[in-house]
C-alpha cells in the first residue's frame, strides 16, 4: 500500500507564549511534531505493518523541519519529503499549504493519506479536507479507528462526542483524532536507521509552481495576547458564607446568573 502522511512542525503550546515585533516569539522555544500528526504517523506505520507497502511523510516547512521528519523516520516511516518554502513564500495560509501538498501528491497514486485533524498552533483544521478535495478523493475527519479490508475502509469518527461508523473505498484521506492509537517513541535502533533513510528536499520550482499560484487568500494583520486576567477572588470565611457570597457575586457583580 502506498501511504502518505501530512506532517506539520509546530510550536509546543505548552510553552509560555510571548510576542515580539508583532509575532509569536520563537526564540528558544521547543518545536515538535504536531501531536495530531503523531497519531497519523503511528497509524500509517501500523497499516503498513499489517498490509505491506511504504510510508512517506511529507511536510511543507523550512530547513528546521528536517528534525521532525527525522523523528518520523525514527518512529518507522520509510521516506520523508521536505517541501522547503522558506525562500519562496513569506505569508502562506491554508490555501497555500494545501495547494503545494496537492501538487506534490497528484501523481503519487496514494492509496491512503493521513494527517492530524488540526494543528495546535494555527488551529484551523483545513489542510486535510482541502487536499482531499484537490485530489478528488473522499475524506473522513477526526477518526478514532481505521480498519482496512482489501479496498474497503471502515472508519469510526468522533462527532462532538458521538461516533459515526463510515464505510468508504480507497483511496481515501483521513485526519486523526486523539484516541486513534498511542504513538510510539522512536527507539535507539530506529534513530540510527533514520539517519540512512531518504529525506528528499523540494522547492516550489520542483513542483512547477510559481509563487503566484500559491499566494495566500487571507492575511494576519495582528497577533496579540489576551488581556492578563486579574487575580481572581478566592473567598474566605465559613464555607456556607462563602457559598452565599459567591452566588451573590455571580448575580450582582458578574451578572451571569
Amino acid at each position: 500500500m502506498n501511504i502518505y502522511v501530512l506532517m506539520k512542525r509546530t510550536f509546543d503550546t505548552e510553552e509560555k507564549i510571548t510576542i515580539s515585533n508583532g509575532k509569536i516569539n520563537e526564540d528558544g522555544a521547543e518545536f515538535i511534531i504536531n501531536p495530531y500528526d503523531e497519531y497519523a504517523i503511528e497509524e500509517a506505520i501500523q497499516v503498513r505493518d499489517a498490509h505491506g507497502g511504504e510510508v512517506t511523510v511529507v511536510s511543507v516547512g523550512n530547513e528546521e523541519t528536517e528534525k521532525q521528519l527525522r523523528t518520523a523516520l525514527a518512529m518507522g516511516a520509510d521516506k520523508a519529503v521536505l517541501i522547503n518554502i522558506e525562500d519562496d513564500v513569506e505569508d502562506g495560509d491554508q490555501f497555500t499549504t494545501a495547494k503545494i501538498l496537492s501538487e506534490y501528491l497528484k501523481d503519487k497514486e496514494a492509496d491512503l493519506i493521513l494527517g492530524g485533524n488540526v494543528a495546535i498552533d494555527g488551529g484551523s483544521g483545513q489542510v486535510g479536507p482541502r487536499v482531499a478535495e484537490q485530489l478528488g478523493m473522499p475524506y473522513v475527519t477526526t477518526i478514532t479507528k481505521l480498519e482496512i479490508n482489501g479496498t474497503t475502509a471502515t472508519i469510526t469518527r468522533d462527532v462532538e462526542g458521538d461516533s459515526e461508523v463510515i464505510e468508504t473505498s480507497l483511496p481515501v484521506l483521513v485526519t486523526a483524532q486523539q484516541g486513534l492509537n498511542e504513538p510510539r517513541y522512536p527507539s535507539l535502533p530506529g534513530i540510527m536507521k533514520a539517519k540512512k533513510k531518504p529525506l528528499d528536499e523540494l522547492e516550489l520550482d520542483d513542483l512547477d509552481l510559481e509563487e503566484d499560484d500559491v499566494e495566500a487568500k487571507t492575511k494576519t494583520i495582528e497577533i496579540y495576547l489576551p488581556p492578563k486576567k486579574e487575580a481572581g477572588k478566592v473567598l474566605q470565611g465559613e464555607l456556607a458564607d462563602q457559598v452565599k457570597e459567591l452566588v451573590n457575586l455571580l448575580h450582582t457583580e458578574a451578572k451571569v446568573v
Binding site: 491554508q94 483545513q126 479536507p129 497577533i223 496579540y224 481572581g232 459567591l246 452566588v247
Partner: protein, 325 residues
C-alpha cells in the same frame, strides 16, 4: 460595500442550532447592508425557515433530498455548490461545529477560496472585515482579513451574539434543485453518547468535574447544579480517563472548546490542555481542595473546599435565588 452572504443553517435533532442564529448576526456584519440568505440542507428542512427569518435572514433557500438526511461531505457540498451557483454570494458563514469544520475546507478547496476558521468576532475596521480567532490553544489571538475572493468564515459557538428574535416574522422557503449522487462515504452507524439536554458546546452555563469527582456517582451533584442553572455538565480529561464519565463530556484541547457565560470547575486541577478548552469563558468559578491548584489562576472566583460540600450548598442557594427572582 454591500455583499450577498449565505449562512448555513445547521439542524440537530430537528432543531436549528444556536450557532446558526449567531452566524446570521455575523453575516449581517459581513453583508454591510447586503442580503443575508439562510441555506437549509436535509431531507425535510423547510419547516425551519421561519426560525432563520426570525433571527434576521432576509431570504431562505433549501435543498431537500432523501440522500441528505444525514451529513456527508459529498452530499452537502453538492447541495451547497448548487446554491452557490444560483446565488453567486460574496460571503459564506458556517458554524465552527463538527459539521462546519468538516465541510467548510472542502467548499473552500472547491472554490479555491480562503477560509477563516473558528472566528470569535467579526467587525468592520478601516475598510476591512476583520475576523478575530484564537491561536496556540487559546493562548493568543490573531486578527485576519480576506485578501482575495470570497469572505468565508466559520464561527465558534457562543461568541457572537445573535440578533434579537422577531417572533412575528415568517417567510417563504424556496427550493434549489441539486443532483445528489455518488456519495463516496456511507454512514453505517451512529452511536449517540453525548447526553441529552443542553448541548455542551452551546451551553450558557457549564458545570465541569475533574479527578476530584472521584466516581461516576460523584457527577450526580454536578448534574443537579447544572439542571438548576439550565446548563450542561462537562469534564476534564482526567475524569474521562478515570472512567467517571463518557469522553463526549471532555472539555479541552482534545474534546470540546466551550465559552459559556459561567464555567464552574469542580475538582479540576487546571492542566493547560483543559484550559485550552475553557479559558475564554466569560466568568470562571473554581472549587478545589488544593489552594495551589492551577485552576485558581484563571478563575474569577474561587472557593477552597471539598466539592461534595460546596456543590450541594451552591445548588440550594441558586434554587433560592431562582425562587426570589
Amino acid at each position: 460595500m454591500a455583499r450577498k452572504v449565505l449562512v448555513l443553517g445547521e439542524a440537530r435533532d430537528g432543531q436549528l442550532r444556536n450557532v446558526s442564529f449567531e452566524a446570521i448576526a455575523a453575516a449581517k456584519t459581513v453583508a454591510e447592508g447586503g442580503e443575508v440568505v439562510g441555506v437549509l440542507i436535509g431531507d425535510s428542512v423547510s419547516s425551519l425557515g421561519n426560525d432563520l427569518y426570525q433571527f434576521g435572514a432576509d431570504r431562505v433557500v433549501a435543498v431537500e433530498d432523501a440522500k441528505l438526511a444525514q451529513y456527508t461531505p459529498d452530499g452537502y457540498s453538492q447541495a451547497l455548490i448548487a446554491v452557490i451557483d444560483q446565488e453567486n454570494p460574496e460571503g459564506l458563514i458556517f458554524g465552527h461545529t463538527s459539521l462546519g469544520k468538516d465541510l467548510a475546507p472542502k467548499i473552500a478547496g472547491k472554490l479555491n477560496s480562503g477560509l477563516i476558521s473558528d472566528a470569535v468576532a467579526v467587525e468592520e475596521a478601516g475598510g476591512n472585515l476583520v475576523f478575530t480567532r484564537p491561536i496556540y490553544s487559546g493562548k493568543a489571538f490573531e486578527k485576519k482579513i480576506v485578501t482575495d475572493g470570497l469572505i468565508f468564515a466559520t464561527i465558534r459557538p457562543n461568541n457572537i451574539a445573535p440578533l434579537e428574535r422577531d417572533g412575528g416574522k415568517s417567510g417563504e422557503v424556496s427550493t434549489v434543485s441539486a443532483e445528489i449522487k455518488d456519495l463516496r462515504t456511507i454512514i453505517k452507524d451512529v452511536v449517540r453518547k453525548a447526553t441529552e439536554g443542553v448541548d455542551l458546546s452551546e451551553a450558557k452555563v457549564v458545570v465541569a468535574g475533574g479527578r476530584g469527582v472521584k466516581s461516576e456517582e460523584g457527577f450526580e451533584p454536578l448534574k443537579e447544579l447544572a439542571n438548576v442553572l439550565g446548563g450542561a455538565v462537562g469534564a476534564s480529561r482526567g475524569a474521562c480517563d478515570a472512567d467517571y464519565c463518557d469522553y463526549s463530556l471532555q472539555i479541552g484541547q482534545t474534546g470540546k472548546v466551550v465559552t459559556p457565560d459561567l464555567y464552574i470547575a469542580a475538582g479540576i486541577s487546571g492542566a493547560i490542555q483543559h484550559l485550552a478548552g475553557m479559558s475564554n469563558s466569560k466568568v470562571i468559578v473554581a472549587i478545589n481542595k488544593d489552594p495551589e491548584a492551577n485552576i485558581f489562576k484563571v478563575a474569577d472566583y474561587g472557593i477552597v473546599g471539598d466539592l461534595f460540600e460546596v456543590i450541594p450548598m451552591l445548588t440550594e442557594e441558586f434554587k433560592k435565588l431562582k425562587v426570589n427572582a
